[in-house]
Amino acid sequence: MNTMKWLLRREFWEHKGGFVWAPLIAAVIMVVLVAGVVGYGVSSGRMNGDSITVRVGGEEVHRSQMADLATRHSRTEMASVAANNYIAVGAPVFIVLPTVAFFYFLAALYDDRRDRSILFWKSLPISDSTTVLSKLLTGLVLAPVITVGIASAAAFLILMLAGVAVSAQGVNLFGPVLSNVNLYLSPLYLLAMIPVYVLWALPTAGWLLLVSSWAKSKVFLWAVGLPLIVAVLLKWMDYLLALYGSTIHADWIVNNVLETLLLGLVPGAWFMDGGTAMPVNGGHGVDLLSVLGASWGSLARPELWVGAAAGVAMILSAVRLRRWRDEG
């Protein structure tokens, strides 16, 4: 247990740049941009201009109607929509995660072989399975947790900035927004999706770790090139077989197997392939709680478990390769 704590810390020392600084910089850029726009708008008074139209609930309303519109009831509703959906603003931070995690796994068992520091790590009483597990936990659990934290903080700041902008219109939403319980639950809903994320990401993480442990060089080329070449070959065989009226279902394989191998680290991948429907809640945006429910519902899909099992098998092979590989 203690060993694992130090191994995770080790990963953090080495990869702080990717897992902390990269999402943090993305978040800071977003907040600064929004702050700039709001600051400019409020200070130049343009937000009071009559030319501004605001969309509320899909209806265009004129500036002059704003005060009428902002009745007590509609304020509560606006606040509720804001508190439920603000976290979506953090989406750009979540795009950083799969990119960083992809290259992290690809390098995880390769970099120390390349610079031969593996001989130092192997001189310490740490088993290869513990080492690989620490890398898996770093990429699939710690990195998403850090991302959720940074994205939530950024989304919250942007929400507050938006509150400043609306209050310049004479509509003060701070009270109802800050007192809406969903504001505080949203980050927890995101955290509660991480176990689902881990399961869907296992095949990609496993594939990348396997290549990382096996390839003598050019890990990226192997990890991406090999599946692509297989995809092309399958399509070509399918094309030939079509002449005889037969098929090997190349499209199915490409869509299911190869995408699972390469795109599993994208958050919400279980919605992208259409296998799990994204719950959409009319004009009020997305209700995070039902997204969470739908995400856990995706555990009923057998392909998840087939993929996760394949991922685990690839991870075990990576451990074995690391144990016996002669590093010269």
Binding site: R10, W13, E14, D115, S117, P125, W324
Partner: protein, 285 residues
């Protein structure tokens, strides 16, 4: 069981190439053994097998454990430096000490810190800012603070200047070694380790050609400066090597009594380097 390493018919093949061809040896506790051989003789392969880094055939026990199946347990008591300057570039001195202290039950933190204080290493320093010699100092500080029963050093000073090399072996002998520890060293710089070794093992083409304690070596091998008029008498005793220095023949004898040789000329103990060269004659021919 008091042998730290014991090998019976240890064999390692890379494809059709035999790196180690069925060797037997025993290394008792409390020794400093020099495993010495030319390039490609199989010394690194032997050590890698003992450290559980590669699969092999035959029988090999390290402190009673099989390095193939019991490596995790073995590494509690064994430490090694397998190459020069292989610490990861991003590692800080402070973090390196924290890490090893955190995971190694036999690590003595104050010892490592005391050793580091005697160098130019600073806690905030990263490996990428260090010279090769400093990286080795850090590595040695970490390894020396581990109370391992067996320490394996494979070319630990290759490419370092003489100041770092001398200091390395001095630290090892003065601050680290005691009768409960065993050290196995491979190196090409034989003359720098010969005064610290207690045992010698020569390996050639995957076979052990000499395994003896330094005392036995001193008794067995004698070098004689033979004047020209006694060369024929000396040749009759079958020297294993012969060279000429300032017109005198210097002959190396194996197992001829010292009294008999003293009659031929001035006798002395050969250096390990000379012995090595004589034993390995024709290796690259």
């Amino acid at each position: 069981m008091n042998a730290v390493i014991s090998a019976k018919n240890l064999t390692k093949k890379y494809g059709k190439q035999t790196a180690v061809g069925g060797i037997d040896f025993e290394i008792p506790a409390g020794r400093i053994v020099g495993l010495i051989g030319p390039n490609g003789s199989g010394k690194t392969t032997t050590l890698k097998a003992a450290l559980g880094l590669i699969p092999f055939e035959g029988e090999l026990r390290v402190m009673g454990l099989d390095p193939r199946t019991q490596r995790d347990a073995l590494m509690q008591d064994v430490c090694f430096i397998a190459d020069v300057a292989i610490l990861p570039r991003w590692l800080r001195v402070r973090d390196a000490v924290d890490f090893v202290a955190g995971i190694h039950p036999r690590f003595d933190r104050s010892r490592a810190e005391r050793y580091i204080a005697n160098t130019r290493l600073k806690p905030e320093m990263k490996v990428k800012q260090m010279s090769k010699g400093m990286i080795v100092q850090l590595h040695l500080a970490l390894v020396m603070a581990i109370d391992a029963k067996l320490l394996v050093l494979d070319e630990p000073t290759l490419g370092l200047d003489i100041l770092y090399r001398k200091q390395f072996y001095q630290n090892l002998l003065e601050d680290y070694f005691d009768e409960n520890k065993t050290i196995v060293i491979t190196t090409h710089q034989v003359e720098e380790v010969e005064h610290i070794l207690t045992d010698l093992m020569f390996i050639r083409d995957g076979r052990i050609v000499l395994a003896a304690s330094m005392d036995e070596v001193g008794e067995r091998y004698v070098e004689v400066m033979v004047p020209a008029d006694k060369v024929n008498a000396a040749n009759a005793l079958q020297p294993i090597d012969q060279r000429t220095v300032f017109g005198k023949s210097v002959m190396l004898f194996d197992g001829v009594s010292r009294a008999q040789l003293a009659a031929l000329g001035e006798t002395r103990n050969p250096s390990v380097a000379d012995l090595f060269v004589a034993t390995m004659k024709g290796t690259y021919a």
